[in-house]
Amino acid sequence: MSITPLLLKHIFKKRATILYPFKEREKVHLPEGFRGELKFFREKCIGCGLCFRACPSETIEMSVDEKGKRPIFYLDRCTRCQQCEEVCPTKAIELTQNFETVYFDRKSTIIK
C-alpha cells in the first residue's frame, strides 16, 4: 500500500506533457547550453578551414569562390557536436537554440 501516498501526490500535480506542436510551443524546455541548428555568418569567415578539419561527420566541405576558400554545410549530416564553433577563430559559426530542423527537401539543408 506504499503506493497510495505517491498516487495522491501525483493526482494534484500539473501534467508533465505539453501540447506540442499546435499549442504551448513556447513551453518547450531547453537547457541553457543546448546545441541546436547551425548558423553561419559568411561575412565573418576567413576561410581557414579549421571547421572542416574538426567536423567528425563530413558536414562541412570546402569550396572556392571569388573571396577564396569558404565552407559549405550539409546540415542533414550534422551531429551538433559544436566542435566547429569551438575552433572557429572569428566566431563565424554559431549553434542556435533552434531544435525544429525539419525540411521538405534536401537542398534546403545546405547552407553556403
Binding site: 503506493i3 547550453g33 546545441r35 578539419r53 567528425p56 561527420s57 557536436c81 559544436q82 566542435q83 569551438e86
Partner: protein, 402 residues
C-alpha cells in the same frame, strides 16, 4: 532427450542482436553456445581514417549509455601520448560527469531488472526518477545522452555556482529515492524469491572467466579500476568499493543500488573540493609517436582502450575492449546447470539481463561464412600473422613477426 532452442538475434528477451543456442534437458539448460558478431560496426577501422579531434564524437557512439566512460578513456589515452598533465579542475569535472552517467546507467538497469522479473511498478519508479539525473546531465552538458563534454586536454564546459546549486538539489532527490529503492529491494519478497540464487557465479569462477564490473563485485571480489588504478581525480575522491557475497543476480542488484549512493556522495565531494583554474589546455594536433593503454571503470565494468600513434594527426591503430566482452564467458558459466545449481528456461532473461549486457559496444568479432558450401571458419592467431606477413611482403616491407 535434449532439445536445442535458439534465442536471438531477434527475440523479446534480448534487447540487442545476439544469438544463444540453449541445449535443454527437460526444463533445465545444460549447455549454452553464444554467437556474437551481428553488430560489427567497424568503428576501429573508421577511426584510423579520421584525426584525433574528429574521433571524439565517434568514440562517444561506441556505447550510448556509457558514452562518458568511453570518451574519458579515449581522451586520457591520447593525453598519455603527449605526456602532459591536464588541469586539475578538468579532472574533477570528468569525475562528476562520469558519476552522473553511472547513476543514470544503474537506475536504468535497476528498472530493466525489475521489468524482467515482472515487477513493473518498480520499473516505472526508477525510470521516472532517472529523469532527474538526465535533466542534470542536460544542464551540465547541453544534451541528455550524448554529452560531448570531453576533449583532448580537458573538458569543454565549466560548472558554475548556479549549476552546482541545481546539481546538489537534484542529488538530494536522487539520494532519497535510491534509499527507498534499497528498502524495496531488501524487503520485497517477490523480488527476493525471483532473484536469490539465480545466475550463480562463485568467486573462483568469476576470476577464472575474468568477469568485470558489478558482476565480479557481486561475487565478493574487490575489483574496481577507480580504486586499483586511479585516473582523473579518483586518487583524491574517497569512495567504498561495494561488494556482496551472495554471488547471484540479487547481489548484482544490491551492488548497483549501493554504487548509485556512493556516486551521489562522490559528486558532492567533487563539488565541495573542486579547485579553481582553467578547464582545458591546448595540445598540438599530432601526438608524438608511441603507444598507450588506458583503463576506465564504466558502469558495466572495466573498459580498455589502446592507441598506437605514428606521429601523424590520425591514429595508426585503435583498439577498444568494451566491458560486456569480459562478462560474456562468465555469462555462459552462469547459464549452465551443474550439480545442484539448476537453470530454468524462465531464468534466462533475468540472468542475461543481470550482467547489464551492451552487446553492440563489444561486437568486434568476425566470422567467415561461405553460404554456398555452408562452411564457417575463423582465423587463428598463427594464420593472421602469416596473412599480415604476406601482405607486407607484397608491399616490399620486411615484416617482423614475434
Amino acid at each position: 532427450m535434449s532439445i536445442k532452442i535458439p534465442i536471438g538475434p531477434q527475440h523479446p528477451a534480448l534487447k540487442e542482436p545476439e544469438n544463444f543456442t540453449f541445449t535443454l534437458d527437460g526444463e533445465y539448460v545444460v549447455k549454452v553456445e553464444a554467437r556474437i558478431g551481428y553488430m560489427h560496426k567497424g568503428i576501429e577501422k573508421l577511426m584510423e581514417s579520421k584525426n584525433y579531434i574528429q574521433n571524439i564524437p565517434l568514440v562517444e557512439r561506441i556505447c550510448g549509455i556509457c558514452n562518458v566512460a568511453h570518451t574519458i578513456c579515449y581522451a586520457q589515452n591520447v593525453e598519455y601520448l603527449y605526456e602532459k598533465p591536464i588541469p586539475r579542475r578538468a579532472e574533477f569535472i570528468r569525475v562528476i560527469i562520469e558519476e552522473l552517467n553511472r547513476i543514470h546507467s544503474h537506475l536504468l538497469w535497476i528498472g530493466i531488472a525489475a521489468h524482467l522479473v515482472g515487477f513493473d511498478s518498480f520499473f516505472m519508479y526508477t525510470w521516472r526518477d532517472r529523469e532527474v539525473v538526465m535533466d542534470l546531465i542536460e544542464l551540465l552538458t547541453g544534451n541528455r545522452v550524448s554529452t560531448a563534454l570531453m576533449t583532448i586536454g580537458g573538458v569543454r564546459r565549466d560548472i558554475d555556482d548556479s549549476k552546482a546549486y541545481k546539481l546538489r538539489k537534484g542529488l538530494d532527490i536522487l539520494e532519497e529515492r535510491t534509499k527507498y529503492y534499497k528498502k524495496i529491494a531488501e524487503d520485497e519478497k517477490s523480488l527476493l524469491v525471483r532473484l536469490r540464487d539465480i545466475g550463480r557465479l562463485t568467486p573462483a569462477e568469476a576470476i577464472k572467466h575474468s568477469a568485470v564490473g558489478p558482476t565480479i563485485r557481486a561475487s565478493n571480489i574487490k575489483v574496481d579500476v577507480r580504486a586499483d588504478d586511479p585516473y582523473a581525480a579518483h586518487d583524491e575522491v574517497p569512495f567504498n568499493v561495494i561488494t556482496y557475497d551472495t554471488c547471484d543476480v540479487f547481489g548484482r542488484l544490491m551492488v548497483r543500488i549501493d554504487e548509485t549512493l556512493e556516486s551521489i556522495n562522490m559528486v558532492r565531494y567533487c563539488l565541495d573540493h573542486m579547485p579553481s583554474g582553467p578547464i582545458r589546455i591546448r595540445l598540438p594536433n599530432a601526438p608524438p609517436p608511441g603507444e598507450s593503454v588506458s583503463r576506465v571503470e564504466a558502469p558495466r565494468g572495466e573498459d580498455i582502450h589502446y592507441v598506437k600513434s605514428n606521429g601523424t594527426d590520425k591514429p595508426y591503430r585503435y583498439k577498444v575492449r568494451a566491458p560486456t566482452l569480459g562478462n560474456l564467458s562468465a555469462l555462459i558459466e552462469m547459464l549452465t546447470s551443474k550439480g545442484d545449481y539448476l537453470v530454468h528456461v524462465a531464468d534466462i532473461p533475468v540472468v542475461l539481463g543481470g550482467i547489464d549486457p551492451c552487446m553492440c559496444c563489444m561486437d568486434r568479432s568476425v566470422k567467415f561464412i561461405d553460404p554456398v558450401k555452408g562452411k564457417e571458419w575463423s582465423l587463428t592467431w598463427e594464420q593472421l600473422k602469416l596473412y599480415a606477413k604476406r601482405k607486407w611482403e607484397k608491399e616490399g616491407i620486411k615484416a617482423k613477426c614475434p
